[in-house]
């Protein structure tokens, strides 16, 4: 192993380790004015009283602080609940903003230093590891040793990585109070971009974007010489950096709602929620554009682009989830299950989520236009169920946490409602297909093995059949790894695209329908 590469690996692991322990350092002290700053007016009087025992107390860790906070807070709520005094119960999460405000540790005093020794060190180490990769090697497929790798073949390192990601996502979604130090360290960056202090979502977006950019560079190294992979990777890097990260923050700076112009309902499941609609409607011409553009993407963008290019135009060229899967997730693409059974489960699950998303949105819109007369707060319940199960647990915890366990497209394959919608168009009305090159297939299995969507590509290739599958995201890796030049992603006439009774070229004795 090259020395730079080795140092890079050490720096990366060091950065990651500091990042992982950073949340647990520092001390906390709550004062009344912090509560007055962070709490909504309607809860102010109650909260100031509830937290009174904590003022001026010195806490040595966030565990101690949060547990004391929860005790006081829960006490108050439990009493109200016991008396069925529902109107007074406080449902808002104040643990996170108050923990952040009460933090007196070294991170808030010196955020740049901590950012440097965690994220920056990790990025530097990652780049030092990536740049020397495959140097002085001819262009070609770089899959040597993947199945001997503990990281890439569900070994101990893979399991540890998966566990780390799962734990990180659970804390991020449901216990952000424990991440305050990490959020504090990106505060200056957030203020520079949007004028606001960072939230856990800013931290997440920042790390997410860096992961795509750094691992995107790895893709350039790994697929050197493959123009399709290079351009496609550059595209997901651009869309994440510009559309998902920078532009929304700049919109906030301009007093506009945070908006990702490339996100499409129903992946963007909250698009029709009342606060989003109100936010857009109250933001002038640009807000109106957000609404109209979003609807155009749903009703025209998806069908038209998918007709011409297949769902890949979105899933492996634009989408943020796809972007992470195609960069950070690339080392794990071979771990997807290729069995017929998993395909059956996949179809139930992904179309189930689509139905759920459509019904929920239909109820939401009906409720909105009826002035909340029909169902009252029932939509809120639906939203929180969907947000918890699909938006957080499925898309986040399972979607990314399971990369090293079940491959990099678990969410895209089993859960994404937009992928389901794009897939229906791709399957039934599109010019896209993966063409099989006559009789050249040798059934080696590289295509199926490296298909992140778990498509048994070989099943089609060896019978001379074009691959037309709703789940195919058009990443192009099956074509890249094919040793005999059998697979080509292409857009062409619909005629002959789907061929249920293919004939393999080459045998003139008989015509065999495979």
């Amino acid at each position: 192993m090259n020395i730079i590469l080795r140092i890079g690996l050490i720096l990366f692991v060091l950065g990651l380790a500091i990042f992982s322990v950073l949340p647990f350092i520092g001390s906390y002290q709550l004062e009344q004015e912090m509560v007055e700053n962070e709490v909504k007016d309607i809860h102010l009087d109650a909260m100031v009283e509830v937290l009174r025992p904590m003022y001026g107390q010195y806490y040595e860790s966030n565990f101690a602080f949060i547990s004391d906070f929860n005790e006081n807070f829960d006490n108050y709520n439990e009493k109200l609940k016991a008396n069925e005094d529902w109107d007074k119960v406080i449902w808002d999460d104040y643990a996170y903003p108050l923990t952040k405000a009460a933090s007196t540790g070294p991170v808030s005093q010196n955020p740049y230093f901590y950012l440097a020794i965690t994220v920056c060190l990790g990025v530097l180490g990652g780049l030092m590891y990536i740049f020397p990769l495959h140097r002085n090697e001819p262009e070609g497929i770089k899959n040597d040793g993947i199945y001997f790798s503990s990281m890439k073949a569900r070994g101990l390192l893979g399991i540890i990585t998966g566990t780390w990601l799962i734990v990180f996502y659970i804390i991020l979604y449901w216990f952000p109070a424990y991440l305050t130090n990490l959020i504090l360290m990106v505060d200056p960056l957030s203020i520079a971009l949007s004028g606001n202090p960072a939230s856990q979502w800013f931290l997440y977006g920042f790390i997410y974007t860096l992961a795509i950019v750094v691992m995107g560079i790895r893709m350039f190294r790994k697929y050197k010489g493959n123009a399709y992979q290079t351009i496609r990777t550059a595209s997901v890097m651009f869309f994440q950096l510009a559309f998902a990260f920078l532009l929304p923050e700049i919109l906030v700076l301009l007093n506009m709602p945070w908006h990702d112009f490339k996100n499409i309902w129903p992946l963007d499941y909250s698009f029709f929620y009342d606060y989003r609609i109100d936010g857009m409607l109250s933001s002038g011409a640009l807000g109106m554009f957000m609404l109209v553009w979003g609807i155009i993407l749903i009703v025209l963008g998806v069908p038209i682009f998918t007709y011409f290019y297949g769902k890949r135009w979105y899933c492996s060229w634009v989408c943020g989830c796809g972007g992470l899967a195609e960069t950070l997730g690339d080392p794990y693409r071979q771990l997807s299950d290729k069995s017929l059974k998993s395909w059956q489960i996949e179809r139930y699950m992904i179309h189930g989520v689509l139905v759920f998303a459509v019904l929920m949105t239909a109820v939401t819109i009906a409720n909105y236009f009826s002035g909340f007369a029909i169902l009252g707060n029932a939509t809120d319940q639906l939203h929180s169920v969907y947000g918890f199960l699909i938006g957080s647990a499925f898309a986040g915890v399972i979607g990314t946490g399971f990369y090293p366990l079940m491959g990099n497209r678990v969410w895209c394959r089993f859960g994404c409602p937009l992928a389901a919608y794009l897939g229906l168009v791709q399957r039934f009305k599109s010019r896209f297909r993966i063409t099989t090159n006559g009789g050249q297939c040798i059934s080696c299995g590289n295509c199926s093995t490296y298909c992140e969507m778990g498509i048994d590509v070989r099943w089609y290739a060896q019978r001379g059949q074009n691959i037309v599958r709703s789940s195919c995201v058009g990443c192009g890796v099956c074509s890249a790894v094919c040793p005999r030049g059998v697979l080509k992603l292409e857009n062409a006439d619909e005629e002959g695209r789907i061929n249920e009774m293919p004939i393999i070229i080459g045998n003139k004795s008989i015509t065999v329908k495979s």
Binding site: P138, I146, Y228, I231, G439, S443, G445, N507, K508, S509
Partner: protein, 465 residues
């Protein structure tokens, strides 16, 4: 649907060998014949796997399970019985198979699809530990053991398996010396420019390629293990592993075991392989042979060999025999336009039709090579009418369908050159070669063919040429 099968009830078809030929035969029998009992016997593995993918298991690209083209439930669902056992001998008179564990199996129809075994040419030391060929799963397991923590390997034989073995070893950072008897790599099949292109690529991968170098003997370390090889020129190259990849020959040794001495019992007619007619029939009724192990008494076509040891031909043999075993009217084996492919390290090779290594008086060829020396194209045509006879392509994927048509319909060289972008099968956004090819052609043949420009809209929607 039960097809027009002949005497299908209660018939037991037994296929020895679960490679592409035997498995294709079994699958296609089942498609047309619901009733016949089908058994596939193999000692090598329990299930069908892709032999061509063995190298990828060694290189860590895949595991054995990934090389299985069908999931394990497939066989039971299609009522194809699998038996993992080695056949010791065949009693053709009693239609009985005797296995190495002495158990027996009756058959009504026997299909021999026993494949090949690596050649060994009687070199001194060829039986030493650390010396082996590569054909079967067992060979792969042995190679795994033989190359564990070694410092140096030698591969003997400049063919397809030889370069694969070199690539496999290099993937584990084991330095390889590659002994090739010929002037250039695989030059008994490839014209010299193509051979040289691959020579350069082999060197680019830091493989120590020794052209025109023959093996003299393999030297023992005193404990029955290889220590070095000696070449005909007297050079001694020390190594701990020797890969012998000097071709394969039909795996037929066991077939007449126990039958030779007994003149009353029928014996199978063998030459280099199992002799068959155009219907895959051997000299014994109800016994057929397909794939690598079969030798046609008359080659299937003038440009074909009497033993076809290629994945694709094995598949076609299997398809055709299955048809004959399930139809009233038998057909003879008539392969179409020849095609083949391979991958030499990072450079893919495809060929359609017939391109000889040495070009005769009545034919000529047009050759183009990319400026980086990593892609090339040779169109081989007859001088008299300029009709395309065959094509070699390196580093450039081409459409099988196009060339199958172009060669069978006798497209002219000029037609093919002018529309070769129609046959382009490289991934999207790859640099197109068409303009360069046209330039070279125009220069050599004094023509002024021009590139047909695609409209902007067609380009935008990524339409096929």
């Amino acid at each position: 649907m039960i097809g027009p099968s002949t005497n299908s009830t209660d018939r037991h078809v037994v296929i020895i060998g679960n490679g592409i030929s035997g498995v294709t035969c079994a699958r296609n029998i089942r498609k047309k014949d619901f009733q016949t009992r089908i058994t596939i016997i193999s000692g090598e593995t329990a299930h069908f796997f892709s032999r061509t993918a063995l190298m990828y298991i060694y290189m860590g690209h895949m595991k054995y399970e990934h090389t299985k083209p069908y999931e394990d439930w497939f066989w039971e669902k299609n009522r194809i019985e699998l038996k993992q056992a080695w056949v010791d001998r065949v009693d053709f008179e009693e239609k009985n198979l005797i296995f190495s564990d002495k158990s027996q199996m009756q058959y009504d129809v026997l299909v021999l699809a026993t494949g090949s075994k690596p050649n060994k040419y009687g070199w001194k030391g060829q039986e030493l530990n650390g010396v082996q060929g590569l054909y079967s799963m067992q060979d792969l397991e042995l190679m795994e053991k033989n190359t564990h923590e070694i410092q140096k390997a030698v591969v003997v034989g400049g063919g397809l398996i030889g370069i694969e073995m070199a690539e496999m070893l290099m993937s584990r950072d084991i330095p390889v010396t590659f002994l090739v008897r010929e002037k250039n790599f695989w030059d008994n099949i490839l014209p010299v420019e193509e051979s040289k292109l691959i020579n350069r690529h082999i060197l680019e991968h830091h493989i120590d390629l020794r052209l025109e170098t023959e093996l003299e003997e393999i030297i023992d370390d005193g404990n029955g293990k290889v220590k070095a090889v000696k070449t005909k020129s007297g050079e001694v190259i020390s190594c701990e592993f020797v890969g012998l990849t000097v071709g394969v020959s039909p795996n037929i040794d066991f077939l007449n075991k126990g039958n030779e001495s007994n003149s009353e019992k029928p014996t199978l007619e063998l030459s280099r392989g199992i002799l068959i007619d155009a219907y895959f029939k051997t000299n014994i009724p109800d016994v057929y042979a397909i794939g690598d192990c079969a030798e046609f008494k008359n080659a299937p076509a003038p440009d074909r060999k009497s033993i076809e040891q290629v994945w694709y031909t094995g598949r076609m043999h299997g398809e055709t025999l299955a048809h004959n075993l399930t139809s009233r009217k038998s057909v003879s084996y008539k392969p179409g336009i020849w095609f083949n492919s391979a991958k030499f390290l990072d450079i893919e090779y495809q060929t359609y039709g017939f391109v000889p290594a040495n070009i005769g008086d009545n034919e000529d060829s047009f050759y183009w090579e990319a400026s980086n020396g990593k892609a090339c194209l040779r169109l081989f045509f007859s001088k008299s009418d300029q009709k395309l006879l065959g094509i070699n392509a390196f580093g450039w994927r081409l459409r099988h369908e196009y060339f199958d048509k172009a060669i069978s319909k006798g497209y002219s060289l000029e037609k093919v050159i002018s529309e070769i972008d129609k046959a382009n099968f490289n991934p999207e956004f790859y640099k197109p070669f068409h303009e360069e090819v046209l330039k070279k052609y125009n220069m050599e043949f004094g023509k002024t063919l021009k590139l047909q420009k695609q409209s902007f809209f067609k380009k935008l929607i990524g339409s096929r040429a």
